[in-house]
């Protein structure tokens, strides 16, 4: 693996949208992109599984969409600016999605942000204390 890639992958809880993830996530992200059109949002809401058949994504990616596994979408190549369009279709905010990915409630997440956000201390490297590295 290239040195810079090792450095990026060492950042905890972070999935840099690089070439590998972009390749893996293309159809998942383009599904999300399709939701920018009103008619597509309606078709998706009417029958989610049937609508997803239009996009040749993996079974695991389909599952993450149908179950709204927001972190799973990111791990299988989703990019937040795309998956947020699924969030918008559901009427969910960035903060809601962020809370889900971070494993806390929307309220807990909002409170953390009001208190100044997540600290950088011990959040730089997977080898930092408290990380599962």
């Amino acid at each position: 693996m290239k040195t810079d890639k090792i450095e990026f992958e060492d950042i905890p809880g972070t999935y840099l949208f690089n070439a590998d993830r972009s390749k893996a996530g293309y159809h998942l992200n383009m599904f999300c992109m399709s939701l920018l059109k009103h008619d597509n949002r309606e078709a998706f809401r009417a029958d989610e599984a049937a609508y997803l058949d239009r996009f040749p994504m993996t079974e695991e990616q389909r599952r993450t969409v149908l179950e709204r596994d927001w972190l799973g979408m990111i791990k299988t190549g989703g990019n937040i600016y795309y998956t947020a369009k699924l969030g918008a279709t559901d009427g969910k905010s960035f903060q809601y999605i962020a809370g889900k990915m971070a494993g806390v409630s929307e309220k807990e997440y909002a409170d953390m942000m009001l208190a100044g956000g997540r600290s950088i201390e011990n959040n730089r490297s997977k080898s930092d204390p408290g990380q599962n590295g």
């Binding site: 810079d4 450095e7 990026f8 950042i11 905890p12 809880g13 972070t14 999935y15 840099l16 949208f17 690089n18 070439a19 972009s22 293309y26 992200n29 383009m30 999300c32 992109m33 939701l35 920018l36 059109k37 009103h38 949002r41 972190l71 990111i74 990019n79 937040i80 600016y81 795309y82 947020a84 369009k85 969030g87 918008a88 279709t89 905010s93 960035f94 903060q95 962020a98 809370g99 990915m101 971070a102 494993g103 997440y109 953390m112 942000m113 009001l114 100044g116 956000g117 997540r118 600290s119 950088i120 959040n123 730089r124």
Partner: protein
């Protein structure tokens, strides 16, 4: 001759747009943020630029994974507000400045910055939220705006040095335009924030403060910052701050800071605003 008289950097959080659109700017959560922009709006109204060159990033709206231009300049007469998934924002259509935009495109390409030229480009919150923050909610935007979109979604974005050098080239191009126009350059995005993964919500006030300081005190340090530093220290989406360096490059070496504001949180994001004058 056209000239650049000032530069503005500001965050462009979508929730700020929603707060404006839903009339929530006076609520406890949002009031401190909008109050911080009152002097900025006054500066903008007093400065009265003839044209704004607005550096921003498209958030998978006009562009998608189908086509990812690193630098794209809007050369059309107008740019409609985009539908980002809940219908277009009810903000004025953005009027361009086609003559200057084409001049910039030609000059920049001949100056070895290979711009993508775009006629059909709906503009998302990345462009309209900064206009709201600096101009309020007018019936029409106060001047023409030339959108300059930078890829910061697909890794790798352009380097900080490349962005700064593009700013320099924009200054040269503006100064070779034969109309007397006063121009303000906006660099938008940032500051520290991370929107995805278990580390979502990251804020690094120390990084942001030093970044604001060094825009005037030590731009060379910022130009040399590698991407890994932004991603690790300022969050994966904090890398948007490379766009501020395009604005910085467009201003003179001895540009002065005339206003600064910093506030946490704007939804998921550390909100920063700085104004520089030549």
């Amino acid at each position: 001759m056209a000239k650049i008289i000032g530069g503005v950097a500001t965050s462009h959080v979508p929730a700020i747009g929603a707060a404006i659109d839903l009339g929530k700017t006076g609520e406890d959560y949002w009031k401190p943020l909008f109050d911080g922009y009152i002097p900025s709006k006054k500066w903008m109204a007093d400065t009265k630029p003839d044209v704004v060159i607005l550096v921003y990033n498209d958030h998978a709206t006009a562009f998608s994974l189908e086509l990812i231009p690193t630098f794209a300049i809007g050369v059309a007469d107008e740019f409609p507000p985009a539908d980002e998934g809940w219908g277009p924002r009810e903000v004025p259509v953005v009027k361009g400045h086609s003559d200057l935009a084409w001049h910039l495109a030609e000059s920049l390409i001949l100056d070895e910055f290979d711009m993508t030229m775009v006629n059909n480009m709906p503009v998302d919150h990345g462009l309209t939220v900064p206009l709201n923050l600096m101009c309020g909610q007018p019936e029409e935007w106060p001047c023409p705006v030339i959108p300059l979109a930078v890829n910061v979604v697909q890794y790798p974005p352009p380097t900080g040095k490349r962005c700064f050098d593009l700013g320099r080239a924009i200054r040269r191009a503006v100064e070779s335009f034969d109309q007397d126009l006063n121009i303000v350059v906006f660099g938008t995005g940032g500051m520290s924030h991370q929107l995805h993964g278990e580390r979502a919500g990251l804020i690094n006030k120390d990084f942001d403060t030093r970044f604001l300081d060094d825009l005037t005190a030590d731009p060379e340090r910022l130009i040399a910052l590698p991407h890994i530093e932004y991603v690790r220290e300022a969050g994966s989406e904090g890398i948007e701050m490379v766009m501020w360096l395009i604005m910085r490059g467009a201003l003179s070496d001895d540009a002065k800071e005339v206003y600064r504001f910093y506030h946490v949180p704007g939804s998921n994001t550390a909100v920063g605003n700085i104004i520089l004058e030549n």
